[in-house]
């Protein structure tokens, strides 16, 4: 009989303990797998968000933190210069402002007003129903708007409805009148929190909300490099245009995000994955050791019958592999379920972008998970194997008979 077959029979003979050990490994393995997914989940998710847009370069002012840069001055001129660059395929600009929806029948509600030069939304929103901003007309009575799902639900507005929006001018004693906006669509805004109230409109609508007078700034400008031009070359070309702007490729933003944002979760994932690996090792070692101690007579009898030490060692190793392997296999679907549940908890964090997830699967996590389990199986069987192969056969058999 092969060591694997013998190990399988042993597991079946002691079914209750084997099942319990597999459950334990599966639960702890699931947690370990989740921590591996958590370690890079946010970064991968953020990269997916950025790469889901049509632009691979972000342009901001040259001062401030990476994710809170100053606005770009003289945005219109810059946009023309950017569009003329041979490295650039398309350019768009985005403006934001505090605003409020003012309807006669209800209290004013603060919202974020976005002005976009790209009617399809710059990737800042994804259309859920209705249409995008489409072609804008300068003198139209009501400019088009795409609103967030939360806003549509709260105000019970659907495409075709009209809302009235009044902007707030920060740091200035100015009270702007409300303007009507025609809701043409409802969108998901993955860079905003799920409960954010957002109204996105055309640049003409944005200017109209400001009484037709709006300074020539942009919070963000977006650019897409031409397919045959590297992103770095396009970034360098943009930065050569003016010294007061800073261009970031998506890769740079992701690297900055990985370095600065949510480092707590990366650290806790390292601590918990190490702890769970150590926990699995200790418990499997304990189970195997206690199990071998209980079967000393059986092992001694096998040795007395002429079964080689190597065979005994291989059997014990297979026992560990079976427990850890089956438990580890169950850990994958269990880990996926657990990750969804934990992600649901964490995504209730205030202000978290709706499109960001804490847990993301990547092949690297699976490889690491398998490696951790393989090492656990190998190391945890070392002591029981040592006990079994160094057993004094005659003395053990005598003790078994006497007891």
């Amino acid at each position: 009989m092969t060591p694997l077959a013998l190990a399988w029979r042993t597991a079946r003979r002691y079914r209750a303990r084997a099942v319990l050990a597999v459950i334990g490994v599966a639960v702890i393995g699931a947690l370990n797998f989740d921590m591996l997914m958590l370690s890079r989940g946010l970064v991968l998710s953020f990269a997916d968000l950025l790469n889901g847009t049509n632009y691979n370069i972000r342009i901001t002012g040259n001062t401030g933190q990476v994710f809170a840069r100053s606005p770009v001055d003289h945005a219109a001129t810059l946009m023309q210069k950017l569009a003329a660059l041979p490295e650039i395929a398309s350019v768009a600009t985005m403006r934001t402002a505090f605003a409020a929806i003012v309807e006669p029948t209800r209290l004013p509600q603060s919202v974020e007003l976005i002005g976009s030069s790209d009617p399809s939304g710059l990737g800042v929103w994804r259309r859920v129903s209705g249409s995008n901003l489409g072609a804008t007309s300068e003198g139209a009575a009501a400019q088009p708007a795409v609103v967030s799902q939360t806003l549509a639900d709260r105000f019970k507005v659907a495409p075709g409805a009209t809302i009235h929006v009044r902007v707030g001018i920060t740091g200035s004693m100015s009270a702007m009148p409300a303007i009507p906006l025609r809701v043409v669509g409802i969108g998901d805004f993955p860079f905003e929190s799920a409960d954010a109230l957002i109204v996105a409109t055309s640049m003409a609508g944005f200017a109209q909300a400001h009484g037709g007078v709006v300074n020539d700034q942009a919070e963000f400008m977006f650019a897409a490099s031409r397919p045959n031009v590297s992103t770095d070359a396009a970034v360098a070309a943009i930065e050569r245009l003016r010294s007061d702007i800073r261009a970031y490729s998506n890769e740079e933003l992701v690297a900055n995000f990985a370095k600065n944002a949510f480092t707590y979760f990366r650290q806790i994932s390292v601590v918990l994955s190490t702890t769970t690996a150590a926990f699995s090792f200790l418990l499997v070692t304990t189970l195997l050791t206690v199990s071998v101690n209980q079967r000393l007579g059986e092992v001694a009898a096998l040795r007395a019958l002429g079964i080689r030490r190597r065979h005994i060692a291989a059997t014990l190793l297979w026992e560990a592999v079976l427990l850890v392997g089956i438990g580890g296999a169950f850990a994958l679907p269990l880990g996926e379920l657990l990750a969804r549940s934990l992600d649901g908890i964490l995504r209730r964090m205030p202000g978290l972008p709706a499109g960001l997830h804490f847990f993301a699967f990547e092949p690297q996590s699976l490889v690491l998970h398998v490696l951790v389990l393989a090492v656990t199986a190998l190391v945890s069987s070392a002591y029981p194997v040592w006990l079994a192969v160094n057993l004094p056969i005659a003395q053990t058999l005598r003790q078994e008979v006497v007891s």
């Binding site: 319990l20 639960v27 009044r166 707030g168 707590y264 650290q267």
Partner: protein, 283 residues
């Protein structure tokens, strides 16, 4: 707005109060700088520094460093380098407010409000929003989805998963222990010891193992907290406490261990007591 300014000036003065601040030179206004800024810019108390609205030196003014302070630990800023300075509100407005904008000197970023009834935060927020649409009031505590409530729930969920895994392993160990004593239990049954007595013995054993395990866990966590805090405090240059084993947490760990031990003991004893006594002693 004037009362708000007076209030904030008072807060700023309070933050800046102390003998070192009072002792600053008469002509140059005093400021306090964070320990981190003092070290990074190689400054000393008594140095005269220039603060300006931007890197170009707009509305630059000179200040004398009157003292150093340790920034209040803030979990939301633990990975942010605390390069900060504190100055009187009037001095700050003198630097940052644009003289061409008459309202700039009367604008503040945030106002802290203490309500007589702290639980009325949401009602206050709604009432304020109705009167001033562009001013948002956010309760600082008791928010169901505040960042720390969410992190607390995350940690609790992880702890629950760990308890489930531990229960499975404790059960496996108790089953092995029960198997080891199969014959002894069989003999005890044959000489008339009741199932209840045997079950109680195994349950008590499971309980003791669980409580001892929890106690050792609390001891290990207590010993580790110092190292963990030292590591992260040095890593992020903060006085923030990252890990604290409080009596309540220790008590909760032991409280969770009790039902785990009882369940493990009960299941292990059931594996023995469901069998006939004669089958337990058969070799």
């Amino acid at each position: 707005m004037c009362s708000i300014r007076r209030f904030l000036a008072f807060v700023a003065a309070l933050l800046l109060s102390g003998p070192s601040y009072a002792a600053s030179a008469a002509d140059t206004p005093g400021i306090l700088v964070s320990r981190q800024l003092l070290a990074k810019a190689r400054l000393s108390v008594g140095d005269v520094v220039t603060l300006a609205a931007d890197a170009g030196g707009t509305r630059a003014r000179q200040f004398r460093i009157a003292g150093v302070y340790e920034p209040t630990p803030d979990p939301m800023k633990f990975n942010v380098e605390r390069i900060e300075t504190r100055l009187h509100l009037d001095d700050l407005l003198g630097v940052v407010a644009d003289p061409s904008d008459p309202s700039a000197a009367d604008a503040v970023s945030a106002i802290n409000v203490a309500l007589p009834n702290p639980s009325s935060g949401s009602a206050f927020s709604r009432a304020l929003l109705a009167k001033t649409p562009f001013v948002v009031a956010v309760p600082t505590r008791d928010s169901e989805n505040s960042t720390f409530q969410v992190i607390d729930r995350f940690h609790t969920a992880i702890a629950a998963v760990t308890v489930v895994g531990s229960t499975a392993f404790l059960l496996a160990l108790m089953v092995i222990r029960a198997e080891e004593r199969k014959e002894t239990v069989g003999i005890l049954r044959l000489i008339g010891i009741s199932r209840t007595t045997i079950m109680t013995e195994v349950v008590v054993e499971g309980l003791l193992v669980a409580i001892a395990g929890a106690a050792v866990g609390v001891l290990i966590a207590s010993a580790a907290q110092h190292g963990v805090n030292r590591f992260f405090q040095a890593r992020y240059d903060t006085a923030l406490v990252f890990m604290r084993v409080s009596p309540a947490i220790a008590a909760r760990s032991v409280a969770v261990a009790i039902p785990v031990g009882v369940v493990a003991g009960a299941v292990a004893s059931w594996t023995l007591l469901r069998r006939r006594a004669s089958s337990l002693v058969r070799r």
